[in-house]
């Protein structure tokens, strides 16, 4: 595993559409990618992928890594003429949708025949979506006073460019999914633009960490979970944390990267490594151990103050069962929740190395040390 390897992981992960609730294709890829570095992999009731990498024969503890694999997207609410009305799934910014290329995943007409159980999944498994576009109305035809206004999502339409008759035959159904199109593109300075860096960058970091661990010794069992439905309520994290009942957990997500024009108090520097979260959601002993691991191996990082809800899977995991000492590492990205999110690849690699280093250093004494730190 190395930085190039991380780049490769990311490239594959963002090439697939996996909106909240329909993560199956991404899950499949994650399971494949984890195969070489995990002892066993399974998918649970809600679709979380759980890759277990065993440590020592009698592991002193089990650590959960959680990186959500779902992305925000759209869902069809009505087919009108040859256009689709859509609603958001997760917090999409409607300002960034005007002029946006999309991919529509139709489930096809109801023929009166019995569907197989996984009909919808098959559509995704085939990866066959249809290209569409959100164009809006021409400015010439928009009243002057409305030209400056944000067009609400309810007024936008997806255009498949298909003849009306095809839509009327029921090609697209209410509930069908629409993903934004945002292909992986390299910019200067080791920066990359793509859709769904939130949160595939973290999934890449997590798989990268497993890759690094494959070349190291570690005594703890590692449960690397690609969670589902984070964007609509941390749903996969809630249930997988209950199921796995780890001794310690680290959530991996993205955070707001510093951008000219944005408040420094609310963003994290780019290209300075992962942000280690600090606040009520995070266990001070876990934070301390992450920092020590980073310092020991000269991995740069910044501390991100989080005075309340971190807005990540960490918030759910911390209160599973009897409570779990939880940490959070976040990869700074710009333009979050748009189709052109931007990241520094080195920050993903640093995150992967930090996680692997932290896990490698977990020993028998770690759990006992936590109560003094809380």
């Amino acid at each position: 595993m190395d930085k190039a390897g991380i780049g490769q992981l990311l490239r594959q992960l963002v090439a697939i559409d996996g909106p909240s609730g329909v993560e199956a294709l991404v899950a499949s890829l994650v399971a494949d990618l984890a195969r070489d570095v995990a002892t066993e992999t399974r998918v649970d009731a809600l679709g979380n992928v759980i890759a277990l990498r065993r440590g020592a024969a009698n592991p002193p503890g089990r650590i959960l890594l959680a990186a959500h694999m779902d992305e925000i997207g759209l869902i069809v609410t009505r087919v009108e003429d040859s256009f689709l009305h859509v609603h958001e799934v997760g917090g999409l910014d409607p300002r960034a949708l005007l002029g946006q290329e999309v991919t529509v995943y139709p489930t096809g007409p109801r023929t009166g025949q019995t569907f197989e159980v996984s009909e919808t999944l098959k559509v995704f498994m085939d990866g066959k979506g249809l290209p569409g576009y959100i164009g809006g109305r021409p400015p010439h035809l928009t009243a002057a006073e409305n030209r400056d206004r944000v067009i609400p999502l309810g007024d936008l339409r997806v255009d498949l460019g298909l003849p009306r008759a095809i839509l009327e035959s029921g090609l697209v159904q209410v509930g069908d999914r629409v993903a934004v199109r945002g292909p992986y593109t390299e910019l200067l300075g080791g920066r990359v633009v793509s859709k769904a860096l939130d949160n595939r960058a973290s999934v890449a970091a997590m798989l990268g960490a497993l890759g690094y661990l494959a070349a190291m010794q570690h005594s703890w069992d590692v449960y690397a979970v690609a969670t589902v439905q984070e964007e609509i309520g941390l749903r996969g994290a809630i249930t997988s944390a209950f199921e796995i009942a780890p001794d310690v957990a680290i959530a991996i997500d993205v955070t707001f990267g510093a951008t000219p024009g944005l408040n420094n108090a609310e963003t994290v520097a780019m290209d300075k490594g992962p942000a280690i979260g600090w606040g009520p959601n995070l266990h001070p002993g876990v934070v301390s151990a992450l920092r020590k691991a980073a310092d020991a191996h000269e991995i740069p990082y910044v501390v991100e103050p989080l005075p309340g809800d971190s807005g990540t899977d960490a918030w759910a995991i911390q209160v599973a069962r009897e409570g779990i000492p939880t940490g959070l590492t976040s990869i700074p990205i710009r333009y979050m929740h748009s189709a052109t999110e931007l990241v520094v690849l080195a920050d993903i690699d640093r995150t992967a190395r930090l996680l692997a280093t932290f896990i490698g250093r977990l020993d028998d004494a770690f759990l006992a040390s936590l109560p003094e730190e809380v």
Partner: protein, 343 residues
């Protein structure tokens, strides 16, 4: 389906009292209705009525544990203050809309009746009313005449009415879900069903799907389905887009504000509906949620969805459902339970 019987059942359930947190009366009404139809009944800590209809299992194909949840509670008003003249100020219990209150009749658990008044009365008729500017008027002419106390709860009151295929009541949300569940148990009587069916009449859905949270933890089912109402795209100027309409069948939940349904479970329901020719509609709801969002999060996660009876004017004192949609919901559940369940 025995038409007039279900109508009368609906009348009984919609007219019983049961505001969130204070469901004693509706619970005992439902308990009487399901006597003899189930093998076990208990009332749990949050007041949920939990009924178990044991499955017959089948050689080589044991039944699954299925949880069906319909909430017994309705929104209402809790008295917070009684002023010197005998007018009652209130706090909402559940999602009460200011626009849906003025002039409504309400009824307390003991039968005391009141009208919701608006500060300023007719002179305030052009302003959007807030709950703080309203009060309950029990028709007293002096403070001493008021027997209601702070903490008492009232529900919006109107008698049930049936008209053609349309049924009217303030509490279709979610007494019609309870009707579906009771009637389902009735139709299963005498049938051999492989699955263990937990018919749970939940409490406190309107104030945070609370009853469903704890009962799902206790039952830990294989799959769970909430039975509730949903909004419709009916009406002259309806926004946002919602392709659910009265009379076109039971609504199958794909997504709402609180959760995304399990795709595999929905596919089983679609397969059953298509096989039996039961009308259904695909629901993507932009506001609101159901007990399903709580059940899905129990323990290690439960494949969950919701079947809803489309209802016009939800959370107002006169909600309308179509009996054909009620029939479709029941028929779909029978068809679903009559088949193997694997997700």
């Amino acid at each position: 389906m025995k038409g007039s019987h279900v109508l009368e059942l609906t009348r009984r359930l919609t007219e019983a009292f049961g505001v969130s947190g204070y469901e004693d009366e509706i619970r005992s009404v439902i308990r009487a209705e399901i006597a003899g139809l189930v093998d076990e009944v208990r009332v749990d800590t949050l007041g949920n009525l939990v009924a178990l209809r044991r499955g017959a299992g089948a050689a080589g194909q044991p039944g699954k544990r299925v949880m069906l949840a319909a909430h017994m509670d309705q929104i209402g008003l809790m008295v917070t203050h009684i002023d010197e003249k005998g007018y009652l100020r209130f706090a909402p219990v559940g999602g009460v809309f200011g626009l849906a209150c003025w002039g409504s009749q309400v009824r307390f658990a003991d039968g005391t009746v009141g009208t919701v008044g608006l500060d300023g009365g007719i002179s305030a008729r052009d302003k959007l009313p807030t709950l703080n500017s309203m009060y309950i008027d029990v028709g007293a002419t002096e403070r001493a005449g008021v027997t209601v106390q702070v903490g008492d709860v009232a529900a919006f009151w109107h008698a049930f009415a049936g008209q053609g295929s349309a049924w009217f009541a303030p509490s279709m949300d979610d007494r019609i879900g309870c009707v579906v569940l009771v009637q389902l148990l009735r139709e299963l009587a005498g049938r051999e069903i492989a699955h263990d069916v937990y018919a749970v009449f939940t409490t406190q859905e309107e104030i945070g799907t609370r009853g469903a949270t704890t009962s799902a933890y206790a039952i830990d089912p294989y799959v769970a389905i909430a039975l509730d109402v949903t909004l419709t795209g009916d009406g002259p100027h309806t926004k946002p887009a919602l392709e659910v309409y009265l009379g076109r069948g039971v609504a199958l939940k794909i997504m709402d504000k609180g959760m995304i349904s399990h795709i595999g479970l929905n596919q089983l329901l679609i397969a059953a509906a298509e096989a039996e020719g039961i009308p259904y509609q695909r629901e993507v709801l932009q506001v609101g949620s159901t007990d399903a969002r709580a059940m899905q999060m129990a323990r290690s996660g439960i494949p969950t969805t919701a079947l809803s009876v489309p209802s016009r004017h939800v959370h107002t004192p006169s909600q309308i459902v179509d009996r054909r949609d009620v029939a479709a919901a029941i028929a779909l559940l029978v068809a679903f339970l009559d088949r193997p369940i694997t997700v």
